[in-house]
Subunit: 273 residues, 2 copies
DNA sequence: GGCCAACATGTAGTAAAATTACACCAATAA
DNA sequence: TTATTGGTGTAATTTTACTACATGTTGGCC
């Protein structure tokens, strides 16, 4: 959580940045401070603090308190430091691994606030599911597709803008569109989300909570953006997305009950030697 | 905290005991419920709930929320237990996440025994790199390809047997073939490895160390096989492979020095808005 | 049985805290 | 200049936790 905040700092307005700084410097006190006092402490107004919370992907000030106590009571190993050009190869490799582990741990701690049950319900009765992603997320999409289709639900993966928009334009009410994007900045994604939602389809987004795509989605799985401070920084957030999709996949399989076990076992048997 | 509550239960009045019971049965929801809703849920009044809090040694209702989130995000090491059909969705999701984290942690601890430097040397002077994988590993392969080509080295990804064999048959001494396989059981992979090695190419394998593919490779990155005891078990080993490739990628970029930063920055700039 | 005491519980009010709506101001582009 | 946008604060609204007080309910004692 603190990491999420410090990552968000650069793209916040001055007053909000003061709030972020104060929290990072006084995490203990921040955990159960009141809105009014925090505002006074940072020499700003209450709404600004609330806006700050929204910008770092929280629902409101109350959630901030919850997330902070959570963060403070879970030990943080595997802290991520940037890879620097004069690292030895082995140093660098360990740092990258730590960053990956860290991003998974962060995601784990946020699982409780994600709409997993809702997503499972939507997918369970879906006519078809489409996974859409560009670039690196495109691979995540096809991986997810490859995984979910084994549950017996028609799946497809879309990895270019025209296809995504076309798909969105012909969705039906019980279709599910899963949008994968790290930054959430692609305007066409937001457009596709709006389009699909207008036609009654469910739009699930795994993306930066502070983005147009996130705002247009019917269900949002917030994925913190790793700001690329260094060109060497790998795409750990992609790992987190994959793991999250794994988790949703299993939850869906459970919800399907016998059908799923049956389908999974059959598709595994087909690969036997 | 939950223990404290159940300990206190017997010496509480009936209504307060209902409150205690409900909290123990729904700890997750209890962590960020409102006073009014909790009272309604237990069919009692708000002051009773507050009195309950006082009786279990808390200052008030607000403190209850804090203590609960603390208790819930407690250490709980990331030990993996299999997902069972009668898990609730949230239980299952956490287990899957834990399994993923665990497999990354395991891989991290084995990094020192992996031939990273050798792999980097081979790749640095490679004429081309091909990543080969079938099924789920196919996605890992194309992901890796997408990542490494940005370092300026010609890359390709192969995801079916004929292509892999054909590629192996025409390799040249400074080509690198990266084989991705969970089990290492595909005989054709071992054949491709032998073929490519005979023509002088470097064969790097990310696979089960106890397999034919592993034995044929010139460089081996051992990836522990997760035995699929349950159909629900997700593909955490694939995550580990991805993370490992991330790490190698960064190590290679460092070894390339300025060239790599330059290439990476350029390919990033190409996506700017 | 009637009366009192102690406790349990709920009603209604209060103070504080979070959130929202709206207005203002400064910086920037037309 | 004027319009527009984004950042910010003021003030009103709603929600939330807590408190004071009233009402019942039980159990003992005369």
């Amino acid at each position: 959580m603190l990491a999420t905040i410090s990552q968000a700092l650069p793209r916040l307005s001055p007053s909000e940045r003061r709030v972020g700084h104060w929290i990072i410097e006084h995490p203990k006190e921040a955990a159960n401070i009141t809105l009014a006092r925090l505002a006074r402490e940072c020499e700003t107004s209450e709404p600004t603090v609330v806006r700050f919370c929204r910008h770092v992907g929280l629902g409101g000030f109350r959630e901030l308190a919850i997330r902070l106590t959570e963060a403070l009571s879970s030990p943080t190993t595997y802290v991520h430091r940037d890879v620097s050009p004069d690292d030895s190869a082995s140093d660098a490799v360990i740092k990258v691994m730590d960053a990956s582990i860290q991003s998974l741990i962060e995601m784990r701690s946020q699982l409780s606030s994600m709409p997993i049950d809702e997503a499972v319900i939507a997918m369970k009765s879906a006519r078809q599911i489409a996974f859409a992603g560009l670039g690196a997320s495109g691979h995540v999409a096809s991986d997810a597709c490859h995984k979910f289709f084994r549950l017996g639900i028609p799946c497809s993966s879309l990895s270019d803008i025209p296809m995504i928009l076309q798909f969105a334009a012909i969705t039906q009410p019980d279709d599910v569109l899963v949008l994968l994007s790290h930054t959430g900045r692609w305007q066409d994604f937001a457009r596709a989300a709006k389009l699909a939602k207008a036609r009654g389809a469910s739009v699930i987004a795994l993306t930066n909570p502070d983005s147009d795509v996130a705002r247009e989605a019917s269900l949002l799985f917030p994925c913190p953006v790793i700001e690329d401070t260094s060109v060497y920084t790998p795409m750990s957030s992609r790992l987190a997305q994959l793991a999250l999709l794994d988790a949703i996949h299993v939850a869906l399989a459970l919800a399907q009950g016998d059908t799923a076990s049956e389908n999974l076992r059959r598709s595994k048997d087909a690969l036997k030697f």
